[in-house]
Amino acid sequence: MKKIIGSLGVLILVIIVAVGTLTTKNYEETVLDKLRDSFGEKHIPSVDHSKFARLQKEFHSPNEVTAECIECHNKRHEEVMHSNHWNWEREEYIEGRGIVSIGKKNAMNNFCIGTQGNEKSCAKCHIGYGMDEKGFSFTDANNIDCLVCHDNTETYAKAPNAGGEPLATLNFNKIAENVGKPKRSNCGVCHFFGGGGDNVKHGDLSSLMFEPSSDIDVHMAIDGMDLQCVDCHTTEQHIIAGKMYSLSSMNHNRIFCEDCHTATPHEKEILNEHTLKVACQTCHIPIYAKEKSTKMTWDWSKAGKLKNGQPYHEEDSLGNHTYLSIKGSFTWDRNIKPEYQWFNGTASHYLEGDVIDDTTKALVMNELHGSYKDSESKIIPVKVHRAIQPFDPVNKILIQPKLYSDNKGEGAFWQDFNWQTASKEGMKDAGLPFSGNISFIHTEMNWPINHQVSSAINSVHCSECHTRENSRLAQLNDFYMPGRDYSKVVDFLGIWNIILAIVGIIIHGSLRIFAAKKLNNGVKNND
């Protein structure tokens, strides 16, 4: 029925369109074909490291391996030491506050809050050796951890709470002889586990991304193009393209889908027009945290409960922690529809010591800038992580607690479960004032979603946004969108206009029938 009426309605048009489109068309290699060709070629290393005698000597520490790397690659360490991965900070311009140095060193988040005072534990994901709360030698090239990124054996692993040192049991010769271009596994060991567990932070980067199927990610799928992280996150002189706005503020060094796919990749022009205001990810990542859950909320205020004097944990049916004495209670979700925000590539951040203006509403840790009226802005999908975390109600600043220490009695929360001492020690390490009062505040953190792209047929349909009920973009109210928006007054008056017209017709028509009968009867009577 649908089809019949539809085709009837456009019958003539179909003929016209057919004449237009059936004119001879030469087959042209599409952008996608070209991309498949270029990324289908596998990288061939230029040297075989197993042939180098210097890598076959006995290594007593990872630093000795680094020294051997630098012997040949004698400028690379300087590049590394200029990188964000090494420095954990960079200079960024933030609207309204100017140029600041920002990074894991001084920014705060609403997961494990911050690195200060907890370096020994956090450094498991630093590309160096020997970091602890006393500091780190950022100038000692032998502290560079080349292997965590360049090991191609997938055996290299860092030890927990060891300041970035690898496990003692590793075979450094085997690893050093098999170094190469970073693979998904190299990046993934840190970036898939940010926040202290699988897919905790990003939502679109889980352990499934090590070997994803095409349902999880069309680009990296092992049954597809099998792209590696560095295929998109291209690297020049150890400066890696692309960044996450949990710590970034400026609209530079970004990667866009358009870089490969062009700004107008669709056959349908109406979709290409959408690209002016809608980021590719918005339609092409209909859900994130596919299969593997991500953390959605984190309530630090519940942390510290003990059973028989011992910390404990609780899990949900999928094995996700819902409670940890050391961290509080959590909620998780998977296969999630993102939230959507306007974004122009700039963000502002809550940095250590920033005074909170309004403590009654949720504090946005990293505000993404943008609006409909801003021509640089596009709608992007975002994971919003909501937390309740400690703050000092007198100084109105977020508290950086000391969480980790090796031993009890040093004030670390994960050892002593005492907010008072943990806050006091943590704020001291961070060089921040602490009034002695602890309260808890709602915070939100925005994580733009860029990975786990679905195949084109599974992308978001028009009617998921262009609808009055449950529009995906229901939260973005600064513009008029057909299908979602309408004037209540116009609709009310318009519908009543139609109803009154019909009622008028019914009354008029009835009166005519009535009058006609009466006239007929009159005629008959007259006869």
Partner: protein, 214 residues
Amino acid sequence: MTRKVYVYRSFERFWHWLQAILIIFLAFTGFEIHGGYSFFGFEEAVAYHNIAAYLFITLIVFAIFWHFTTGEWKQYLPTYKNLTAQMRYYLWGIFNDAPHPTKKTVLRKLNPMQKLTYFGLKVLVIPIMVSSGILYILYRYPQRHEIRYLNIDSLEIIAIIHTIAAFFLVSFVIVHLYLITTGETLTSNLKAMFTGYEELEDDDYGNKNLEEKK
């Protein structure tokens, strides 16, 4: 005495019926886009609506040409003469089998209320509908890349004006469909629009002459 007269010429009938189909189809797809029901699906509704809109505009161009070359446009000039008489007829006379207050002739096929209504449609509602529709189609914000159309920063006012005009047109179509039945007989108007011929009363200057010319 009545006589069968050729009132509606072939292009006029073609124009009328294609316009009728297009307006109903545009209304149906348009209100689906507007929201409230789903039949074709949003994407298809937009595509069909746009194609029908271009067809409608094309038809209007031909119709304007036809009206001016034939001089038929004069039929639509509104007049106050007999306007109240026509209203009185619909409100009173029609129930008493009174005669139509105006005689339909080839040179005057529209009664005063029709003249006023169609004139309003032609100079107000349809132009508003078409121009707001064209702005709707060409609307882009912002203007960037290879896409260069109009740079209007909000669709809202365009969309609302388009919607208001659409409600007017739908109301018109409903009332129009009813008023078809108020001719000499229930179906005489409808038949005339299909065949072109209608039984009209002879008069001094119109029907007879034309009939002979033909």
